[in-house]
């Protein structure tokens, strides 16, 4: 198991390194001189000498590979640079935005699991029935619904007409847990519905395949109840592809957070990315993109670890080499 974990962790390093090259490269292609953007809005006129000195200070007169090395070294030591827009340390800005994104993302993910797995199981245990047909239709509809439609409907009906929940904003759970939950429900539903549809579909497909296996027929022939067969025999095998899908869709959750946070005015990482792109705040853009990528890679790693815990064949195949 330890061997598998080490191997898995090491395999993320080349992917992350290449991603840093892509992000660095993209940022260097951005139009405009970063130093001129930095001094934009200065109250006194900045001389050419000062601009040249600033360029040297930021390493921008070095060859591109040296700039990359300096930038990577700074990133690894936690120095993500300074925001052109607010003049704050980028890490301080990102740190303040993590909680809202994690909160609505986690709630949406949990909602997708709670909704998707039981509905998928229900469809798989009655194939060809109206429940199965409804589940298939529901998963197609849920997967196709854009965040704008779900968010727009929720805001209009629940917030503006019924006045049950606030239309926008975020409250920290440490300040007021109840208000925090009320403010997070609609963004979480908006994020979770699409994922629930995908989870439902994968669960149905996995269970259909597993329930046709010989050992399931044997278990039923032995006289075990349908309920016991599903929970004790089928579940652990059928859930593995669902775990994989949950991991794969983590990236999509971040993409969804960009739109959802904009719709519901949640001050999270997604909204920070949008604001910094529109403001051409290059240090913040590259730090946020890297942060999101690292978060997705780490989350996928955790999912893979969970996968190896659920499936002993994964651990054993590593042990046997």
């Amino acid at each position: 198991m330890t061997q598998y974990l080490i191997k898995r962790c090491l395999s993320t390093i080349p992917v992350m390194l290449l991603t840093t090259v892509i992000v660095f490269g993209l940022m260097r292609l951005l139009p405009g001189d970063p130093i001129l953007l930095l001094v934009e809005g200065a109250q006194t006129e900045i001389s050419d000498e000062t601009i040249a000195r600033l360029r040297t200070m930021h390493g921008l007169d070095e060859p591109i590979y040296v700039q990359y090395t300096i930038w990577l070294k700074n990133m690894l030591s936690g120095d993500l640079g300074w925001s052109f827009q607010t003049n704050q340390r980028v890490w301080d800005i990102i740190r303040g935005r993590i909680l809202p994104t994690v909160q609505i993302g986690l709630l949406g993910w949990i909602m997708a699991i709670i909704l998707g797995i039981p509905l998928g199981l229900l469809a798989a245990t009655s194939p060809g029935s109206w429940r199965d047909w409804l589940s298939t239709a529901g998963s197609l509809i849920g997967a196709a619904m854009p965040y704008f439609l779900i968010g727009g409907l929720l805001i209009y009906v629940v917030a503006l007409r019924l006045r049950w929940l606030p239309a926008s904003g975020f409250v920290s759970p440490f300040d007021n847990p109840v208000e925090s939950l009320k403010a997070s429900i609609m963004p979480a539903i908006t994020l979770g519905i699409g994922l629930a549809a995908i989870v439902m579909r994968q669960t149905r497909s996995s269970f259909l395949e597993v329930l046709q296996q010989g050992y399931i027929r044997t278990a039923r022939a032995k006289g075990l109840s349908r309920h016991k067969v599903i929970i004790s025999h089928a579940f652990k095998n059928a859930i593995l592809p669902v775990v994989t899908i949950l991991g794969i869709e983590l990236g999509a959750l971040f993409s969804g957070a960009v739109i959802t946070e904009t719709i519901f005015a949640v001050p999270g990482i997604g909204r920070l990315l949008v604001d910094s792109i529109l403001a051409r705040d290059y240090p913040t853009i590259q730090a946020v993109v890297l942060f999101i990528t690292l978060a997705v890679v780490v989350a996928n790693l955790l999912v893979d670890i969970a996968y190896s815990v659920l499936d002993p064949r994964i651990r054993q195949s590593v042990s046997y080499g």
């Binding site: 080349p14 992917v15 992350m16 290449l18 991603t19 090259v21 892509i22 992000v23 993209l26 292609l29 951005l30 139009p31 298939t136 239709a137 197609l140 509809i141 997967a143 196709a144 619904m145 854009p146 965040y147 704008f148 439609l149 727009g152 409907l153 805001i155 209009y156 503006l160 579909r201 497909s205 990236g251 999509a252 971040f254 993409s255 960009v258 739109i259 904009t262 719709i263 990315l273 949008v274 792109i277 529109l278 051409r280 853009i285 993109v289 999101i292 990528t293 997705v296 890679v297």
Partner: protein, 272 residues
């Protein structure tokens, strides 16, 4: 084709896609209104007999703008997918066939691009290229091309040891001929399925980018920027948001259903 038409969901998908194409192509004939002509006497009107889906904040007919928006979405969606296929398929073919170090490097690059969430990467590329439809199309194509690379590479790995490929190699067929005449045609089925699903995905990406302000710019009628502006009037004129958002939903649903139907028809063993 018979298998496709036996699938009810695929038929619904085909109908939705056909309807969208029809409305997009014949928009100027079907509607009496122009998409950008403002009517200050008809601001934020409810749906009525004159304006079936109401009007927006500048008095423009929403149904007309939705039809012209369909034209834009279909154009961007299909163009982005075509570019993605032209970029991704050759790399996948070569990577799967050649193997070795080239394949390893290619797959690490593909993994790195796919590690970045699609919309995040598309927005970042758009920030580099600038806003506008052409740049949004390029950004979407670049983001989705690795999917085709991986797909085709997987197919090539599965079939490159087949007898007909080995036979072609043994009689001295040049590499390009083996790739184009023998391998490429046998990888097309999953590419066609993925392309259909990819158009729906491209429509979602384009409308998301327009929503944020990096895709089509006003007054160009894009579903995404109609939704963005409409949110300001959600309480008094919900149709400004719900109508274009529903159009996006129906378009994506249609392509997804069609893609699933094509998958079942072209590869029944995949089973959805």
């Amino acid at each position: 084709m018979k298998r496709l038409f036996r699938n009810r969901f695929a038929i619904v998908g085909l109908l939705l896609v056909t309807m969208e194409v029809f409305l997009a192509v014949f928009a100027s004939v079907i509607t009496p209104y122009e998409p950008n002509v403002m009517d200050y006497k008809a601001l934020l009107q409810n749906p009525n007999t004159e304006h079936l889906l109401g009007t927006d904040e500048l008095g423009r007919d929403i149904l007309t703008r939705m039809m012209y928006g369909a034209r834009l979405s279909l154009t961007v969606g299909t163009t982005a997918v075509l570019i993605a296929v032209c970029l991704g398929v050759p790399f996948g073919l070569i990577s799967g066939y050649v193997g070795g170090v080239f394949d390893e490097i290619m797959m690490r690059v593909v993994d790195s691009i796919m590690a970045l969430p699609a919309l995040v990467l598309a927005l970042t590329i758009s920030a580099v290229l600038g806003s506008g439809l052409v740049n949004a199309t390029i950004a979407i194509a670049v983001v989705t091309a690795p999917t085709y690379t991986r797909l085709v590479r997987g197919q090539v790995l599965a079939i490159k040891q087949n007898d007909y490929v080995v036979a072609a190699q043994s009689i001295g067929a040049p590499t390009w001929r083996v790739l184009v005449r023998h391998l490429l045609p046998n990888t097309l089925s999953p590419v066609i399925v993925q392309a259909s699903l990819g158009i729906g995905f491209a429509i979602i990406l384009e409308s998301s980018m327009s929503f944020i302000g990096l895709g089509a710019m006003p007054p160009t009628p894009s579903w995404g920027n109609m939704v963005q502006i409409g949110f300001q009037f959600l309480e008094i004129a919900p149709w400004c948001v719900l109508a274009p958002a529903t159009a996006i939903f129906l378009a994506v649903l249609g392509f997804n259903m069609l893609g699933d139907g094509l998958r079942d028809a072209l590869d029944p063993q995949s089973g959805t």
